[in-house]
């Protein structure tokens, strides 16, 4: 018996490939750079994992029912993941997104039938968070407010999936784990799993170097609403990446490796190369959160 769409589709979330870069970083022969290519998820990003984890936990606890509307704030990818999962499972979704989000994101959300609430562009994703909080507080019975920034199911899903996958794929040989900070779920969950298996693994957090930046999905913690699931003492190392460095890496990935990656993937790679230069030895795993197709209209491609 063939499974239904929602089962088949959602089964495809996770188990993404770990790609070994062969040109970029070849100046460091003692270092292996491995990229966890999260755009192979059906919704196109790592956020499929967190969204599915949050929805599944809420269903189990009876918090999300067909009568309730799935509500959350996102700067893009999580919103798309929720919209896809909600459509597949037959829920209604209402997503707060800053109005200067990528137009293709907003179109994608509407295509999945989600309701989109646009918030002030001047307040970035934190404005969307505040709007979601306000909506949920005003009519708590109407919504399941998923609250990806504070929902432990976010990091737990990475603890249960991304962490074990990387462990198996590297056969435990990794020395560094590098992830950007947005909701911080990927870093906290995957990092915790890997540290428990191998305490010597270095967990490296990547942040933008400025409150004004183009690293979509990433947050500079010092100037943002800090997610409740984040523990600032957990990462072994914090690295800052300038947007232009990430852009340069995105171009190199496309031209030298054949990988059309998103901008936060470029940021992870920029951090990974700096680590490679200082460590000279090791197996560095980088999270590549999404692919590059959505960013083709960005100015940097033209310069």
């Amino acid at each position: 018996m063939i499974q239904t769409v929602d089962e088949q589709l959602l089964d495809r979330i996770g188990n993404t490939p770990l790609l070994r870069l062969h040109r970029i970083g070849s100046e460091f022969p003692g270092v292996t750079l491995l990229a966890k290519a999260e755009w192979f998820n059906p919704g196109g990003s790592v956020k499929d994992r967190a969204a599915l984890g949050i929805v599944a936990a809420a269903e189990k606890a009876g918090l999300l029912t067909k009568e309730k509307i799935l509500l959350d704030a996102s700067s893009g990818n999580t919103a798309i993941a929720y919209a896809m999962i909600a459509a597949a499972k037959g829920y209604k979704a209402k997503l707060c997104v800053p109005s200067n989000a990528n137009p293709s994101v907003i179109r994608t959300l509407k295509s999945y039938g989600a309701e989109v609430v646009l918030t002030s562009p001047l307040e970035s994703s934190d404005g969307a968070i505040r709007e979601a909080r306000r909506l949920s507080a005003a009519e708590p019975g109407r919504y399941f407010y998923a609250d990806q920034y504070n929902n432990p199911a976010n990091w737990k899903t990475h603890y249960e999936t991304t962490g074990p996958e990387i462990w198996e794929q590297t056969q435990g040989e990794l020395t560094h784990f590098v992830a950007g900070l947005g909701t911080t779920g990927t870093l906290m969950g995957t990092g915790r799993f890997l540290k428990e298996r191998k305490p010597s693994v270095h967990v490296v957090a990547v942040q933008p170097d400025s409150p004004l930046h183009g690293l979509e999905g990433l947050k500079q913690m010092a100037t943002s609403i800090v997610p409740g699931i984040y523990d600032a003492r957990f990462p072994d190392l914090q690295m800052e990446v300038r947007t232009e460095e990430a852009y340069a890496m995105v171009k190199r990935l496309a031209r030298e490796e054949g990988l059309l990656a998103g901008i936060s993937s470029g940021a992870a790679l920029a951090a990974g190369l700096k680590l490679a230069a200082s460590a000279q030895r090791g197996v560095i795993v980088l999270i590549f959160p999404d692919g590059g197709a959505r960013y083709l209209d960005e100015e940097f491609w033209k310069r």
Partner: protein, 496 residues
């Protein structure tokens, strides 16, 4: 697409901007820190380029965020003249004049510093038009966090006014349920709320007053074990308790954590208020080094209290909390305010820091939290009488799990409220909320082996006491409640 947002923001900013000359430039929240928290800056110039050059000339810190090493505008920085992206007009050479306005729009990624939405601006407008508060002060109120210890007589007006004023995060500590005798003065609660946990009702009410703030609840009796952990997450602590052990506990924890403690107390027709901030003045122990002998000072339950009195003292405490947040005015530090409602008179006493204060003096003898029940003489010290170990009546989550797995006949009784039961519960458990426990005790059989549980283990101990006094013997309370169960046994369980 976002022109409507820009227009709205503009209207407000116009009112607040001092100067009228030049082209207004709207600064995104993420960058306001580099321009002295201004939302709008008016600058001269005939083209976008000239205006932005003025801007980065005046605020050199801003320059590296807007321009790359080659002096070009960074590619992800979007500049709009009115509703039009300058990429679609003449770029940086786009001309500006008269009523034009320039807006710098950040990329979507990342965060924003604290700002007030249009709805918030409207809500707090009576604050905003006073220079002593203004936009800057209201943002301070929004970023502030205040912990209310107790949500009773003092906590009610405190909560109502601090929530209305827009204190961004308000913490509530209480473990009590609403009682009919509370309604005469605890204005947070209505007759319908009797029997409900105060903290649940209070949270709902305060959130309804102001949906822009966060209400955090700590359903627990404040104790030496949990006080440091709970208090450390807040900027200001407001003491609305009605007993001496907790008052000393709050004082000591505030001194140890270096936090201001806004104090108030009430009895019959008289009240007191002060601000104890050991870094700047005396603490509660400087004023009262020793607690009164037990029984000497009757409680409100014994001696009575004018229902309005906590309204007066609580609002004085709320005023002091707001002043501390704003860093404005003369706080009640080093002053004890005395109020007599019968005489309708306020008096003030000067308080001095005691050089022999056991906690905030130069040679402290109290360096960590102690047993305050014992300190206040309410419980004999362990040496005097062998104390019954409350742990004897508790069962760990692990022990309960193996008991259930062993299929022994054990009945699990959930003493939480129905809405909590809806969030998560143990399979096969029976719900008897603590508020109905005494009336429904007949539904239980003392021959059965019973395990009681609540959210965190406090209410179930109280239910256990009720059963014990009714002669039940085969009873246990789940240590740490369903929270500990979720922690230790079933990680998939929803937590709240």
């Amino acid at each position: 697409m976002f022109s409507s947002f820009l227009m709205e923001e503009r209207d407000i900013s116009m009112k607040n901007s001092g100067s009228d000359s030049g082209i207004p430039v709207y600064i995104p929240t993420a960058l306001q820190r580099f321009v002295g928290q201004q939302e709008t800056i008016r600058l001269p110039g005939a083209t976008v380029k000239e205006v932005l050059e003025q801007l980065s000339g005046q605020y050199p810190e801003l320059k590296k965020h807007l321009y790359n090493e080659q002096g070009q505008l960074r590619s992800f920085v979007n500049v709009f003249v009115n509703d039009e992206d300058i990429r679609h007009t003449q770029g940086l050479d786009t001309r500006v004049a008269g009523k034009d306005a320039i807006t710098i729009v950040p990329s979507i990624a990342g965060g924003a510093e604290i700002s007030l939405s249009n709805d918030e601006v409207k809500r707090y407008s009576r604050h905003l038009i006073m220079p002593e508060v203004g936009m800057e002060g209201q943002k301070k109120i929004k970023t502030a966090s205040v912990l209310l210890i107790g949500t009773g007589g003092l906590g009610s007006p405190l909560g109502l006014y601090l929530a209305s004023a827009g204190v961004g995060r308000i913490g509530l500590v209480d473990f009590d349920v609403v009682d009919f005798t509370n309604l005469q003065r605890q204005v947070l609660y209505t007759t319908e709320d009797v029997g409900q946990p105060k903290i649940t009702v209070a949270k709902k009410r305060l959130q309804a007053i102001n949906p822009f703030i966060t209400i955090q609840t700590h359903e627990a009796r404040l104790s030496s074990e949990n006080a440091m952990e709970i208090l450390k997450g807040y900027d200001i602590v407001v003491d609305g308790t009605d007993n001496f052990p907790t008052r000393y506990l709050v004082n000591d924890a505030c001194v140890l954590l270096n936090k201001p403690n806004v104090y108030g107390s009430i009895f019959r027709f008289e009240g007191q208020a002060s601000v104890f901030d050991a870094s700047k003045g005396p603490c509660y122990r400087c004023l009262y080094p020793e607690p009164p002998p037990p029984g000497l000072v009757p409680s409100c339950a014994e001696g009575g209290v004018l229902g309005i009195l906590p309204g007066i003292i609580g609002t004085i405490q709320a005023t002091e909390a707001i002043k501390l947040i704003l860093g404005n005015g003369e706080p009640l530090i080093g002053r004890l305010l005395l109020f007599n409602a019968m005489k309708m008179r306020f008096r003030e006493l000067k308080l001095r820091k005691s050089p022999t204060c056991p906690i905030c003096g130069p040679n402290p003898t109290v360096t960590k939290l102690i047993d305050y029940e014992q300190f206040c003489g309410l419980r004999p010290s362990p040496a005097e009488t062998p104390k019954e170990d409350p742990a004897a009546w508790e069962i760990s989550p692990e022990a309960l799990k193996s008991l259930l797995d062993s299929k022994k006949p054990v009945k699990v009784i959930d003493v939480r409220e129905p809405h909590e039961y809806d969030i998560c519960h143990l399979a096969g458990s029976k719900l008897i909320p603590l508020s109905q426990f005494t009336q429904r005790i007949g539904e239980l059989d003392s021959a059965d082996e019973l395990v009681l549980h609540c959210h965190k283990g406090v209410r179930s101990m109280r239910a256990l006491e009720i059963l014990r006094s009714a002669g039940f013997k085969k009873i246990k309370s789940l240590r740490g409640g369903i929270e500990a169960w979720a922690d230790k046994i079933d990680s998939s369980m929803a937590r709240y």
